[in-house]
């Protein structure tokens, strides 16, 4: 399963799609892994995770078939 990257998160990591490590099973462990693997993400004012196109709480479980995305601070409008 891939993790979609957008905006400045994509710029920091340098790709638009990341492979999810097998040990990542929920939003909290995904965030911990991202901050560890890509320390540049720590400069973001906020980093939300969307699961199946909805903002997800840290406790939310991530299943293999879920659509997961990293959402840096939005700036539309």
């Amino acid at each position: 399963m891939g993790i979609l990257l957008f905006g400045v998160a994509k710029d920091i990591i340098g790709v638009a799609l990341l492979e999810k490590p097998a040990q990542v099973r929920d939003v909290a462990s995904l965030k911990a892994w991202l901050y560890e693997a890509y320390p540049g993400l720590r400069q973001l004012k906020s980093m939300m995770i969307a699961v199946n196109r909805t903002y997800a709480a840290d406790s939310q479980v991530i299943n293999e078939q879920d659509e997961v995305a990293v959402i840096p601070p939005v700036s539309g409008g």
Binding site: F6, A50, R53, A69, I71, V74, S75, G76, G77
Partner: protein
């Protein structure tokens, strides 16, 4: 409530007006967000808008649902442009039609404020001095 939500390269105020104008409604409030030629006094060449489209449409629909629960609005339009946008280009249009103008103002301002907080769209600013932010 009739709803028009769209994300595309080019948007116009006219298409929003065409959708909301109706002899049943007395008050229409429209917000248009335009690309400015400066940000904090620094000249801007262009903006680039990127979008997580499927989620953005879903978040815009959530805003429409909140509006419907809160106000007696007859018609609602949310349009957002993506791609390269130059000073003077329209980036976002919100339009609301209601029988009474007070709620049309309240709903329109709520929609643009909430869109800027929750809808996954990102802008990159290309400054005249070469910097990108």
């Amino acid at each position: 409530m009739e709803i028009l939500i769209d994300i595309k390269d080019t948007i116009t105020v006219q298409e929003a007006l065409d959708f909301i104008q109706s002899p049943a409604c007395g008050g229409e409030v429209i917000f248009a967000g335009t690309v400015r030629n400066h940000t904090k006094q620094r000249p801007v060449l262009k903006l680039f808008y990127e979008c997580y489209e499927a989620m953005a449409i879903s978040e815009m629909q959530k805003i429409a649902t909140q509006v419907q629960e809160r106000w007696d609005i007859q018609k609602l339009v949310m349009l957002h442009a993506v791609g390269d946008k130059y000073p003077g280009d329209i980036a976002v249009v919100i339009a609301v039609a209601a029988a009474h103008r007070g709620i049309a103002f309240d709903a329109c301002e709520y929609i643009i404020d909430t869109l800027k907080e929750t809808v996954p769209i990102w802008k990159k600013e290309f400054f005249a001095d070469g910097e990108i932010a």
